[in-house]
Symmetry: C2
Subunit: 392 residues, 2 copies
């Protein structure tokens, strides 16, 4: 078996075009290489004192340091967790519990991930507070003034605002909101799970969570950073590794760090390349009858595009495209399996059905995009025909 050292994921199924690379992308070749190296050199328990244990500990320390370097954080501010979801849960609960004397309210935007919304609800309920939901506009963007008003109310323990929305690509005004949060003395959790590795990350956060699986590293590991000034109180049974009880996989953490360094290195080039492709996708799809191109057109992730098609069932369209060799995402990233309407699209006030998202990774070519654009209009028409709305 040979491993490529090219900087684009190899394709196990070359006839397929996979355009659902948000949240879970194919492994970056350098992440794969790092993983295998760490299976050989870092399989042992990093808490052990012998040579093999110390070697594993060194790989884990190196991984934390590398992630901290990309985040602009100190190494000791970075922890690995078991998943992006557990990072968000822990961050919300630990920071809200740590500030319980200030109050029990947790301020969130309505387009945060389900993990943030649920944890904020639980944290607030514990301390007799409430989750304060700040609405977004039709592009999915929160109004910094509305967020600032909510933040400045008495009794707020914590605020959470995502860096970018993974479903629709819209960037949030995190720098502005962080300045207001700082003034109010309220720590801000920034969910960078859809953005880290794709766009520049400002240092405007007190807590930050990021998702290795989104940048082509293994699933089963998450990243949580917290500035030293943030007081954190942990729930759950005592454990030597309370952020990831039982410890994380050293190879997965090492691959996460190496993968992050790799995507950070070519981020600007990949931003330009993928932004141009997405611009073309947005413009071309807009010509399909009865479609809404969703999300902020400019302040957005470079690699994500989302559309809502009137008179189309999202699952049927996804299946139709899949049959043609094209994989796309549909509906909410968090509840795709249940096909519940996306809370993000609902919060934006756009059509929640007939929704399709594409997210390009580093292996996506112009030809892939051409093929998607060639196949899509016919697929939409066929689904509309099946639903008996072909003539519309």
């Amino acid at each position: 078996m040979t491993h490529t050292t090219e900087h684009a994921p190899t394709r196990a199924h070359p006839d397929r075009v996979h355009l659902d690379n948000g949240g879970r992308a194919r492994w970056h070749p350098l992440a794969r290489q790092a993983f295998l190296q760490a299976v050989d050199d870092g399989w042992a328990d990093p808490r052990r004192l012998h040579t093999e244990g110390r070697r594993a500990a060194a790989l884990l320390d190196g991984a934390r340091e590398a992630v901290a370097g990309v985040l602009g954080a100190r190494t000791e501010e970075v922890r690995f967790t078991h998943s992006h979801t557990t990072a968000l849960h822990s961050a919300v609960l630990a920071a809200a519990d740590g500030r319980r004397r200030a109050g029990g309210d947790v301020v969130v935007s309505t387009v945060e991930r389900a993990a943030v919304l649920h944890a904020a609800h639980d944290a607030a309920a514990t301390h007799g507070g409430r989750r304060v939901d700040v609405p977004v506009d039709r592009t999915g963007r929160v109004d910094p003034d509305a967020m600032a008003d909510a933040l400045a109310s008495p009794g707020v323990a914590l605020a959470a605002l995502q860096h970018a929305n993974g479903e629709v690509g819209t960037l949030q005004p995190v720098e502005d909101v962080h300045a207001r949060a700082l003034a109010a003395g309220v720590p801000l959790l920034v969910d960078a799970g859809a953005s880290l590795g794709h766009v520049a990350l400002p240092p405007s956060w007190d807590l930050l969570a990021a998702d290795p699986a989104d940048w082509g590293a293994p699933a089963g590991v998450g990243v949580l950073a917290a500035r030293g000034r943030v007081r954190l109180v942990l729930r759950g049974p005592e454990d030597p590794e309370p952020w990831a009880p039982g410890g994380v996989s050293v190879p997965a953490a090492f691959a996460a760090a190496v993968g992050l360094q790799a995507v950070a290195a070519d981020r600007e080039a990949e931003d330009a390349r993928r932004r141009a492709l997405i611009d073309r996708v947005r413009a071309t799809v807009a010509t399909v009858p009865d479609v809404e191109v969703v999300g902020e057109p400019d302040a957005r992730l470079p690699h994500v595009a989302t559309f809502s098609f009137l008179y189309v069932d999202g699952e049927a369209l996804l299946t139709e495209l899949d049959r043609a060799g094209l994989a796309v995402g549909s509906g909410s990233a968090c509840t795709a399996s249940t096909l519940e309407p996306s809370h993000v699209l609902a919060a934006m006030g756009v059509l929640t059905h007939g929704n399709v998202r594409i997210a390009l990774d580093r292996s996506t070519t112009e030809q892939d995009v051409d093929r998607f654009l060639a196949v899509l209009p016919g697929a939409v028409a066929r689904v509309r025909e099946m639903l008996g709305v072909g003539g519309l």
Copy 2:
């Protein structure tokens, strides 16, 4: 890079003899092969509806089914968790919370893992109960009558008894205790984290946790099985995958299952082979002056041996052996990094310092054991000399 298909782990450092394979072992070659296959075929999010997502879901379902087959459980009774520790935490909390009407007490043996002891403490505290600690004898074995007495008291929500102790190898009378628990109507959690894949597992459990990293599969994934009759109530923020929020790594789960099938297939042969090696180790080490061979001599894991050396510092001995190319374990598996005295050894009433554990894996040869036995007496003597007790 070539991958061996031999059924023993390859050695990255052939000059080293690694005898600390309890809880974290080198990857089994078939687990490695399965992992890489699943990175190619199962990298996608198994909750997605396209071909790649369904392929990942099929691998995950197959993994659950395979593990269930080895456990003698139904597929839907098996869940993957983020680690063995989170499996134990979730099992104790969810089962105790599910039985809170019956009472708040949780009965445990004093040699359970720290994760069980801490979770039992938390669960009991939540419901106004207490953790009831049942002592063990000098071999580390719990008295089934004492366990039965504790079980039969009013107000017991849950009992936990490990199948075998990973630090000293002693098997517990789980069949006997399960019969008594069944009679008392109290569910029994059996921690098989040190035993599954090494000894036959009786079906005498209501909840069962097992540790893939212990049988040569990746860390970062755990196994939790619960019989359909056990009522479980989950803590923590709502999540579509509450036993592993955010989901587990599909390649890790698939490798865990394939690895388990592989070690189950040659379990009896490996039991006989390793038991004979350990018998020799126990007999030979007993001739070192001032040593106690720890644990039950017969009813024990086939591959584990533990010794306490008088007038020896455990860390110094571990370092001395490491310098000679031999990796061994020391002290408590849960707190090795802090070198706190092992709560297991303390509960047994044996010497808690100067402790060394070896755990053989499938790659351990007779020559490895010869080398350990040749090096050990001199290493012990040198450490005693350093401490100024060389003449004893």
